[in-house]
Amino acid sequence: MTSDAFAFWRIFFARLPVFLPVLLKGALTTVEITFASLVVAIVLGLLLALLRHARVPILSGLATAYVDLLRAVPVLTTLFIIYFGLAYLGVRLSSFAAAITGLGLLGAAYMAEIHRAGIESIHRGQREAALSLGMTPATAMRYVVLPQAFRVVIPPTANYAIGLLKDTAVVSTVAAPELLFAAKTLVSQTLLPMQIYLLAALVYLSLSLPLARLAHYVEVRLSRGG
């Protein structure tokens, strides 16, 4: 029994040069999905946050409802609704597109909260000073509030991005060709689940840890000065 177990590991290490590129290719897709979803989330999230400040109560109410609702539902469910549900209604998205749409829409809800907190953290006096100079609320927002909110928002956004990276794993369930899916496929071919999944975990770590260190560094730099 013991020799069997070691045999598996020996096979694994022998075939490593074959396994690693497959996983790395998946990792590349993971990064692509993360990046694209992040962009969608940040832009849409900012829009949502500004909408919540809108004069028209219907708009701000809708924006709030969107944010609250989307964050009360698992990623998997939202993903399935977009991938399978839309297909049923005739809109056939590729798993890649569905992934970005789902993660992007969901991300927008989180980013909206981050943006909102950022905007609200800017002292009220700033806005008043801007208004008393004769700026319209829009001008005040654009040149005084948002530039300051931008810096406050960066650390939580960086943290969110790291979370997003891990969430891309969920899209493996709709066969998007990212890292975990590549690992799953490899496991079904090689029957070496522990080894392959551990390797996949390692690849995730090699992506997320440096990002986390970078995020922490940025946070420290921003809070200190400059």
Binding site: L131, S132, L133, T136, P137, T139
Partner: protein, 255 residues
């Protein structure tokens, strides 16, 4: 010639709490009016109503004879929208207790942003105006410094320059020195004195009684949302008539 500022029966309510209970006031061109009174009396609220950072609950305000902040509608009056209010606010300068300088801009940029983004002057022109004003308040050497590197007194002087850059015809000062360390108060008061000497119409809320005596043409004692007593600085500060005025001054001067 109409008065610079005319306030008619101004009321301001927050829910059930009435902070301003019928203020009537006229300020002439070039006049310096100082408001004194206990905290919570409504002095700051009055100033903030004049440039419509707060919307009055009742009453009217006239700048240079024209009604500001509202338009007649439906047999009554309706408040103007923010974009229209912005135009009025550009004519009135406000200096805040907590300076409210924009931390992401240098001193020069703080002063230049009004002309640049509101009056739509060119960047070069705006910076020229700003440089001149910063020089005028005595901070030429610090033009490129950021607010966090400036002392409170320096920040407040930049804030005054910033308001002046809009070339307002009326300046509102909301306790301009209350947030400053004692040794920094003098430099700010000096700038305000200079401005007063140049003929600017001003409304100043302050606790600095000696300064009030120096600069003011008229002193108003405000308590509990009404103007209790008003008159020349000598009259109010040396021989107040009203008991409330007297007890307030006694408490303040005991400092």
């Amino acid at each position: 010639m109409p008065p610079k500022l005319r306030i008619v029966d101004l009321h301001k309510r927050y829910g059930h709490l009435e902070v301003l209970k019928g203020i009537n006031l006229e300020v002439q061109w070039g006049e310096k009016v100082v408001l004194i009174g206990p905290s919570g009396a409504g002095k700051s609220t009055l100033l903030r109503c004049i440039n419509f950072l707060e919307k009055p609950s009742a009453g009217h305000i006239y700048l240079d004879g024209e009604l500001i902040g509202e338009r007649p509608a439906n047999g009554g009056y309706a408040h103007l929208g923010e974009r229209e209010l912005a135009v009025t606010r550009a004519r009135i300068g406000m200096v805040f207790q907590r300076f409210n300088l924009f931390p992401h801009l240098s001193a020069l940029e703080n002063v230049a942003i009004g002309p640049y983004r509101v009056l739509s002057k060119t960047k070069a022109e705006s910076e020229r105006i700003a440089a001149a004003l910063i020089e005028k308040v005595g901070l030429g050497a610090k033009a490129n410094a950021f607010p966090e590197r400036l002392s409170g007194g320096q920040q407040q002087r930049v804030a005054i320059a910033r308001a002046l850059a809009m070339q307002p015809s009326l300046m509102l000062f909301d306790e301009p020195t209350s947030a400053l360390d004692p040794e920094l108060i003098g430099e700010v008061l000096q700038v305000i004195r200079q401005l007063a000497a140049e003929g600017m119409t001003m409304l100043i809320v302050t606790h600095e009684v000696n300064f009030a005596e120096d600069v003011a043409d008229r002193v108003l004692f405000v308590d509990d949302g009404v103007i209790v007593e008003e008159g020349s600085p000598q009259a109010i500060l040396r021989s107040p008539q009203h008991t409330r005025t007297r007890s307030f001054l006694r408490a303040v001067l005991e400092r």
